[in-house]
Amino acid sequence: MERDARTAREGLGLIMASAISVPNPTIIPPISWRRRTLDHVMTGVAILTVVIVLAPLVAIFGYLCYKGIGSINIAFLTQTPKPVGEVGGGMANAIVGSAFILAIASLMGVPMGIGAGIFLSEYGRNRYGDAVRFVSDVLNGVPSIVIGIVAYGLVVIRQKHFSALAGGVALAIMMVPTIARTTEQMLLLVPQAIREAAYGLGVSRWRTTLSITLRTATSGVITGVMLAFARVAGETAPLLFTAFGNQFWNLKPDQPTAALSLQIYTYALSPFDDWHRQAWAGSFVLIVLIVGAVAAVRYVVRRGRLAGA
């Protein structure tokens, strides 16, 4: 109501302004050239902003392809880093290490996130759920470096060494709020009538939630999980003092482990040209994996919608 009144007042002001600016005001005042020009200018400005915003995107991707593709060879994908200063070697251990840390993180973060999502949608349509929802949104905004410090205190200090497990814990903490919220949204999309049909058949609540509600929302929930996964896959800060990085292969969860993002960071800051080249290659691999995941998710979701699910 108030909004409408404000809008009407503004509109009236417009008419009066245009009436005044025309020497012979007719019943319906024409739009002055000033206003028309402004309209065109603003359209131009908007288009300009789009160009400015998309320019870095194009530039970054262009650069990645240009510098990255050239540097990717078999050696890069299969070897470990050479000693400092030597040319050659690769990031194979970092690629595998990232996958390892992400696997640990997913094992902890995905079930808890989905569980929290189920809580929010099925058991949390009340004050307690609102509190959890709010905390979850707020957690999403905590800087990843701070989460790294927390994981340091939780795991690294106790174990007295860096480890893939610590890195996994840090990433899991980041995954939980995101997965919880997307799972909740997807479950809420399942019509109440479907749940009622199951209750009406005498199916118990837990069975209904898992086999009917969750099952109906499966593609959406998986989308959410993959998005969270893609988001933490590129994180560096939380791994700085948890997984810490490693020159060599490591598949033990209680040892420092190399990660793609960490390696890129170290190489980027180094003074060696060859390492810079490898940093670009590593970035290319990382982006391909992340963008691939995001695009695949969008494709699956669109297909799912068309199939009438």
Binding site: A193, I194, E196, A198, G200, L201, R207, R215, T216, T218
Partner: protein
């Protein structure tokens, strides 16, 4: 065989608002009972109190006594157990979208832990025959999803699904209101035959439908039950003026 339903002093609430006032009804076994009344009079609420679906709404409350067969609905049976003996068909057909036709009908059995494959096959076929759907879908039981059928077929699928659990009572909340006349006719025919084996309570907006399928009719108005009697009497010679006004179309 169906069982009778006895309702004593039933009062139902949504939060602070009272939706049902002191309902007393005796539903006879193996008969069809229709509940009519204008929108918002509480007939859907009433039927949902019979299988405790009313509880799924937050801040709802029920007082009173309901007995279905030997079960005391509100004192002593778990809701889940009760709902296996009392089937429900909803206003808008709601087959499970991710399941095939077979899985939809078998859902009540499988999700409740019944695993005997041969028996389930048998029950699925019999249920689909009972709801007059078998002939139309027998070639694509496992291939077609429940949601790919037409509206009328979906509703018959939901009826088959409810029957597969072998309830004793069938509650139907305006089952034909979302359907075209031909599907409605088929389902009414179904109800007419099903009442030999089940006790049926059907909520309907359509008085002609009540006249067509039910032996007994109850008239609800503003949360109270005004009259409950043989269908013929309620329509041709009602005791209460309000009933008379409703059935002759003066309001509602």
């Amino acid at each position: 065989m169906g069982v009778g339903i006895t309702v004593e002093r039933l009062n139902a609430f949504y939060g602070k608002t009272q939706a049902l006032f002191d309902i007393n009804i005796n539903v006879l076994a193996n008969h069809a009972t229709a509940l009519i009344g204008p929108s918002g009079c509480g007939k859907s609420t009433f039927i949902r109190c019979l299988n405790r679906m009313h509880e799924t709404i937050p801040e709802s409350r029920v007082e009173g006594n309901v007995r279905i067969g030997e079960f005391n609905v509100y004192n002593g049976t778990s809701a889940t157990e009760l709902r296996r003996r009392v089937g429900m068909v909803f206003q808008k057909p709601n087959p499970f979208p991710t399941m095939s036709i077979y899985d939809n009908v078998a859902a009540g059995l499988k999700l409740n832990g019944f695993r005997n494959r041969k028996k389930v096959d048998e029950v699925v076929e019999k249920s689909l025959r009972s709801s007059a759907l078998f002939e139309e879908v027998k070639d694509s039981l496992h291939k077609k999803s429940g949601a790919s059928l037409s509206g009328g077929q979906q509703q018959r699928l939901c009826i088959a699904r409810a029957l597969a659990v072998q309830p004793e009572v069938l509650l139907m909340d305006e089952p034909c209101s979302a359907l075209d006349p031909i599907s409605t006719g088929k389902i009414e025919e179904l109800i007419f035959q099903l009442k030999e084996q089940y006790t049926i309570v059907i909520v309907t907006h359509n008085m002609q439908q009540a006249a067509r399928v039910a032996e007994f009719t109850g008239f609800f108005l503003l949360g109270k039950m005004i009259e409950f009697d043989k269908t013929e009497k309620v329509f041709t010679n009602p005791s209460d003026k309000r009933t008379e006004d409703y059935v002759t179309g003066r309001f509602g």
